[in-house]
């Protein structure tokens, strides 16, 4: 092998105890990326041949055993190109005859030395709703911002712009562009008309991204809309899942109050992304520029966690606290935790409910998972990190105060949860309960100094009492307002 420091396991991104299925899958993933028909970078063909050789050796158990015998002993902890840390809400589990809860917080960081390094080039598609309702200040701000983004692009970045109503149109195709002034005039000429069919826009945007899809780029789709789509939701979700599999992230921005927050959340979180609420058209500019800043700072596009169910342990909730606060959907044992940025930790909190049958004695393994991080600008696949989370069982338990980081995160999660509970109760028709949840939320917001959000919540509590419903705008303000609290430092620190 050309690089003597690397063995076959490193090359395929595997640990020494990888199962035959893992070896097979790692080989297919590498081969797809490195196939001579696809790669254009000098030297990649050689790597491809090495990958081929590695697979031939490791896929045969006799050859693998012979090869393993020649290897130096494995380093106790494989060196990973990112840092991880896990903290827990308690030190042990109680030996008690009732269910108990446990929280774990996973922190992922880019290594220190890469935090100031130049970042990977972008391959971004900006998908803009041009329906009639966007007319006026909304569309004007979108256009002005798109032009600003174009001017800020680095030469190596690729940006495509797609507009859609009931059909889509590519305003700027995905390619390197030299004459940016001409592109600006094309953006200026965008006019509003027609309805909103989000699938049309997503599909055209996805096609542009796919044309320059490259694991060494940040591949991302940004959807801007102010309306609802009808009938194509399922198609859109399937497309989002497909994009996620290809390593393409999705962010959504909903302008005003008429859009479908549940749908946009489902699309974006499926690929580890998030949705933003834009209340005032003037905020379009700030939020979109912030989104591009975050993309340029991306170190790893998506961290995915695969886990197996454990008897008596329910993973009841996963929530990403930063960089983009959003619930993480729990589907089929594989979850997208989202990107790792160069200088912001990715923090995700996990909530477990443990049944009394599992805490008889000794130690409980409550999570067995493997974490896969695809790092842009990294030539070799990164080995999966095996996580085996355990906690001793003691009698009696000595819970102790949870660490400050967990307390703070949970104090915010509690606020988000209260408005979610209100929604659930309202759906069930329990008007009284729903209103009470909101009143309590308002009280808690007041204690944290969030006066204006508290006022919105009180208004909605009254709206529930009087009309048995939430207002479109207030409902979204509560949902995205409580999410944003994760990022804000507490407005009121304790006076000492």
């Amino acid at each position: 092998m050309s690089d003597h420091l690397r063995d076959y396991y490193d090359l395929l991104g595997l640990s020494r105890d990888a199962t035959p299925e893992e070896i097979k899958r790692a080989y297919f993933e590498s081969a797809q990326k490195l196939h001579p028909d696809k790669n254009k970078v000098a030297g990649e063909t050689e790597i491809f041949l090495n990958v081929q050789q590695a697979y031939e050796t490791l896929s045969n158990s006799t050859r693998r055993a012979q090869y393993d015998a020649t290897l130096p002993p494995a380093a106790p902890t494989p060196s990973l190109p990112y840092e991880h840390k896990i903290i827990y809400s308690r030190r042990n589990l109680g030996k008690i005859n009732e269910p108990q809860m446990l929280y774990a917080m996973l922190n992922l960081d880019a290594p220190q030395e890469t935090r100031r390094a130049s970042s990977a080039p972008l391959n971004v598609s900006l998908v803009i709703d041009r329906s009639t309702s966007m007319q006026g200040v909304k569309m004007d701000t979108v256009k002005a911002t798109a032009i600003q983004v174009l001017r800020n692009l680095r030469p190596q970045d690729i940006l495509s712009v797609v507009i859609f109503s009931d059909r889509a149109e590519v305003v700027i195709p995905a390619a390197y562009h030299l004459d940016r002034a001409r592109l600006e005039s094309r953006v200026q000429m965008i006019q509003t008309s027609g309805g909103t069919e989000i699938y049309q826009g997503l599909e055209a945007g996805a096609r542009e991204i796919m044309r320059s899809l490259d694991p060494k780029r940040i591949n991302h789709l940004i959807l801007l809309t102010d309306g609802r789509t009808y009938g194509d939701e399922q198609q859109s979700l399937e497309l989002a899942a497909k994009l996620a599999e290809q390593g393409v992230g999705i962010s959504c921005m909903g302008i005003g109050s008429e859009w479908n927050d549940i749908f946009l959340d489902a699309i974006s979180t499926r690929a580890g992304g998030s949705t933003n609420l834009i209340v005032e058209p003037r905020d379009i500019n700030r939020l979109l520029l912030e989104k591009f800043d975050a993309l340029i700072q991306t170190y790893a596009e998506d961290a995915t966690l695969e886990f197996k169910p454990i008897t008596g342990v329910e993973l009841s909730r996963v929530f990403r606290i930063q960089p983009d606060p959003a619930p993480v959907p729990l589907n089929e044992g594989k979850i997208h935790l989202g990107p790792i940025l160069q200088d912001t930790s990715t923090r995700v909190i996990f909530e477990y409910i443990i049944q009394p049958t599992e805490v008889q004695s000794g130690e409980l393994t409550f999570m067995e998972a493997s974490l896969k991080v695809a790092i842009t600008s990294h030539p070799f696949p990164v080995p999966s990190l095996r996580l085996r989370l355990q906690m001793p069982v003691s009698d009696p338990s000595s819970p102790g105060a949870p660490p400050a980081e967990i307390q703070q995160a949970l104090s915010r999660l509690m606020l988000y949860q209260m408005q979610e509970q209100a929604r659930e109760e309202l759906k069930k028709g329990n008007v009284e309960k729903a209103a009470r949840h909101l009143e309590r939320l308002a009280t808690n917001l007041l204690t944290q100094g969030e006066r204006s959000l508290a006022q919105t919540v009180m208004f909605e509590a009254n709206s529930i009492k009087n009309n048995h419903s939430l207002s479109e705008e207030g409902s979204k303000r509560m949902k995205y307002g409580t999410r944003m609290l994760f990022l804000a430092p507490p407005k009121k620190e304790l006076a000492q």
Partner: protein, 169 residues
């Protein structure tokens, strides 16, 4: 099971915040709002007839709080809304008016007990779901419901009695 000291909701063991009302259940807070009996409060209030006082307050304040046990007058200005409660160590809860110095803990004042605010024509008080309740001239208020205040009214946060002194607004 952890019973929330604030709302009596039964939370799963290991919960950090009450799933019902958001009260912190575990950790630094060891003081619990002291429970006092209904009788005590009514008894105390009966003996106390409301008596408006003409106390001098700074020209810009719209409301003064007369803390009846200590005789202290607290003029309030600059905002249209004040939360009343007591500071507790290690909790990110900070009422606008901290009553710790006036025996708030012993009197059963919650960390965030009530709010007084004004609009164009009225000054109102609202209980924020406190443990021992807020009383207006001896009558217990429904939590989260605004009640209009008049000059001279006596508001009790648990056992802590405060006379409301209004300027004409």
């Amino acid at each position: 099971m952890i019973i929330c000291p604030n709302c009596q909701h039964e939370n799963t063991n290991g919960s950090v915040f009450c799933a019902e009302c958001g009260e912190q259940l575990d950790g630094v807070e060891t003081l619990v709002t002291q429970a006092i009996t209904e009788d005590q409060i009514s008894e105390d209030l009966r003996n106390q007839a409301p008596r408006p006082e003409a106390e001098a307050t700074p020209a810009n304040s719209w409301l003064s709080l007369h803390l009846m046990d200590s005789g202290k007058i607290m003029p309030l200005a600059s905002r249209n809304e004040f939360t009343l409660g007591r500071l507790s160590e290690g909790q990110p809860i900070m009422p606008d008016i901290d009553l710790t110095a006036y025996q708030a803990y012993a009197s059963g004042v919650s960390r965030l007990h009530a709010v007084v605010k004004r609009d164009e024509s009225n000054v109102v008080v609202m209980d924020l779901g406190s443990s021992n309740g807020t009383y207006l001239n001896g009558r217990r208020l429904t939590p989260h419901t605004e009640e209009r205040l008049s000059h001279g009214d006596i508001v009790a946060l648990g056992k802590l009695k405060i006379q409301i002194l209004l300027r004409n607004i």
